[in-house]
Amino acid sequence: MHKRVTFDHKLLPYLLLAPQLAITLVFFIWPASQALWQSVLQEDAFGLSSRFVGLDNFARLARSAEYLGSLRVTLVFSAAVTAFGMGIALLLAMMADHVIRGATGYKTLLIWPYAVAPAIAGLLWFFMFHPTIGIVAWLLKGGGVLWNHHLNGTHAMVLIVIAATWKQVSYNFLFFLAGLQAIPRSLIEAAAIDGAGPGKRFRTIILPLLSPTTFFLLVVNLTYAFFDTFPIVHAVTEGGPGQATMILVYKVYKDGFVGLDLGGSAAQSVVLMAIVILLTVVQFRFIERRVQYG
Amino acid sequence: MAEVVVSDVRKNFGRIEVLKGVSVTVADGEMLVILGPSGCGKSTLLRCIAGLETVTAGEIRIGGRRVNELEPMHRDIAMVFQNYALYPHMSVYDNMAYGLRNRGTARPEIARRVQEAARILGLEGLLERKPRQLSGGQRQRVAMGRAIVREPAAFLFDEPLSNLDAKLRVQMRHEIRLLQERLGTTGIYVTHDQVEAMTLGDRLIVLNAGVVEQIGTPLDVYWRPASAFVATFIGSPAMNLLRSRVAADGAAVLLDGGRLPLRPARPDLAGSDVELGIRPEHLQPGAAEGGVLAGRVAWIEALGADTLAHLELTGGTSLCARLNGTLAVRPGEMLSMSVAEENVHLFRPGDGRRL
């Protein structure tokens, strides 16, 4: 953490830090504290005055069936995106690690969805599933399923899960592949000599050694599903039909920006902040531990 | 060209005192080697002279000028670092020229000095290369070149050879010595390697735990170590240190039934406990006119030219003797060893000072 060599200067370090700190204070810390403050206020119907209501806004959230529904939607959505995104990526990474020759080629072919904006990913799959022109919808119709994510909540959910997963697989793939390639060959060979077949090696050697990567990706994927998928929902389903895809970040936006419920939106922001802080702390504790054990 | 005077320099890191009052004068053109085990403060002393650390107390003068408050660049010194510290993204030429450019030296002058240094060091063909394209020895030369072009009052070397392999180290050691003599620049050289210290230095300063143990020429330090610490630190294998007692008449040291005469006698020490120091290479088999120690050979290490015989004296004390490799010695054998009396060293138990 510390350098032995440092420069002596009274003012310079502050000048160097000034731009970053100024932006952080003005655009991060101040608005966040505003959100905290507003979360304990309630504005009147005309927005003319506000009064202190303590934790009322939070209590209102806890009682709100809509909010709890949104929480449930978020959990289902995040669990699905994380599980599929990591599962598929691990499978592909295992295969790419296995083939050796051509692994780099596959890597190139698999990484670029990372560069595609979530909103565009939404557009791509909107296209694929569109009831009149979408190729997948058309294939499904052949199989007897009438696809319409405008009307069917489950369809809408499946659509955004696919779009969000599609985008995230490449990221997970890169990390899993790096993790797999970091496992010493000699370890696998030793296990093979000890009589462990591929399946057993995977369970007893590879998976445990991969667990730091897996855990790291778990946190990153949950964060992604919670926060970075806003554009997919906003662009493709707008939370609907009904509340079927109303994930928490989208609800904050909607209640605050469209519904203009300042106190309620601020309370939701605070809840989300708590979730991010929790995820970040978990992630950093883990990194600390990893550093310790080398 | 300058004299470097270090007077009672102290350095604390927090509450830890790393240098506990070091004083030494390096004469103009002299090469002084700072020697000591790791953690003794030798690098800290060098860095204080360089200005990379500020001293807690004391004074440093370079060329008669007090430099305590000066930045490294204003101290008129150049430094060669352990890992060379070449700027990886700059060519050899730029590495050498960087310091001169920062001082606003004129371009033609920079070119002249760099070419000159490259010629001296045999780097002419390599000026456009990047450090990573050079071998270890070449990098070392570039680091030297960077110091030379500055034409400083003093060169400071911080273990500059420790990253090289053994063969290259011998060669570079020689080159550094020749170069420093030829340029006549004052040099201060930090190392933990006693061979480097003995071969390079006009004088050595041996540091232990922030305290000066001895200052003197290499041979002085070898033949008349000022303390038990210096005695065991210089020389390989290390000097035998044996707890013993001076005879009641002060004319001999008694050890496990053996008797080593002291000439001249030391009546001042009569009857007192001492640490007896004998270098392995000064123990010779057979009874000469000196005193005799008899012991059984416990085990031997045959090194070819020499054989190290580890003896157990009758009282159970063990010591090591370095014998000619042609002597046939076998474990279990009884050996009589003699020591010339000028090679008998006595140290005070406790502080280890020479008696």
Partner: protein, 282 residues
């Protein structure tokens, strides 16, 4: 793997090819659609090979845009996106380099407080402080401006950490050699540290350019003026408009244009990108 099992290798290639196909399929379809005449793609199944309208469709969207999407030609949107992405990437790199330099190479009162303040930004993504941040930007008169699009996003804990990690690995002797050579802190930063950071800067640039280009919520909030629209946020209006006027080929063309720059960057700079990504998150 240890054993040489041709079947396993075959299955591996098959799985990977299937993965590549699934990754590529939507992009292929959008690409193909963007080259069709409208009448060929109003009903599934749509053609799976290129039509003859490729150039026409792209020219149309670049100059005129998509009907019914209220956002006009796409060319200015691309420009806005480019300005935003470059502004965010360069801005983040610049201020993070400076902060990391201050934190690593100086000792000063409140150093740890500054460090933790920057760290906190990790915990406050835009999504959780939408309204108050909007208000700050509005109060500062930065709505509908490039400054508003970029400046609030350029504080970066991640980039600061990456540079800090990297600076810590730079040997101390280099800074000492520079001091002996007469370089002050700023000269050391400019002459030594910055050139040494080139690879890291390149890697971060790729990641941050993509991050900037793909911004969605932020431009959505602070741009109301159609002339400030970015291409990624225009997607939403096109999807809405698609229900009334399904101009599929043109919508597809806009989609392709929106992903082209970041995809090109990631593919050309893949080496740095992968290294940077894995190191940033370490």
């Amino acid at each position: 793997m240890v054993e040489n099992r041709p079947l396993l290798t075959f299955v591996a290639h098959l799985t990977l090819l299937l993965g590549v196909a699934i990754v590529a399929l939507p992009i292929w379809i959008v690409l193909v659609t963007s080259s069709q005449r409208l009448e060929d793609v109003i009903q599934a199944p749509i053609p799976m090979w290129f039509g003859d309208q490729l150039l026409q469709n792209y020219t149309d969207v670049l100059t005129a845009g998509v009907q019914g999407s209220f956002s006009g030609a796409v060319a200015p949107m691309l420009r806005n996106s480019l300005v935003m992405a470059l502004g965010i990437a360069i801005g983040k790199i610049a201020i993070s380099l400076l902060s990391a330099f201050a934190i690593v190479y100086f000792r000063f009162p409140l150093r740890m407080l500054c460090f933790w303040t920057i760290f906190l930004t990790l915990m406050l993504p835009v999504e959780v402080r939408i309204l108050p941040t909007y208000k700050v930007v509005a109060d500062l008169g930065m709505l509908n401006s490039y400054a508003g699009l970029t400046i609030p996003l350029i504080a970066s804990a991640t980039a600061t950490f990456l540079f800090r990690q990297f600076f810590l690995t730079v040997p101390d002797e280099l800074a000492e050699a520079a001091r002996v050579d007469g370089a002050g802190p700023l000269k050391f930063f400019w002459d030594i540290l910055l050139p040494l950071s080139r690879t890291n800067i390149a890697a971060l640039f790729v990641i941050l350019f993509i991050y900037g280009w793909n911004q969605y919520l932020w431009p959505l909030l602070i741009t109301t003026d159609a002339s400030m629209t970015t291409i990624v946020m225009s997607v939403q209006r096109m999807i809405e408009a698609a229900d009334d006027t399904p101009e599929w080929p043109r919508i597809a063309a806009v989609g392709v244009l929106a992903m082209l720059p970041p995809v090109v960057i990631i593919l050309t700079m893949q080496r740095w990108f992968v290294k940077g990504l894995i190191e940033t998150e370490k």
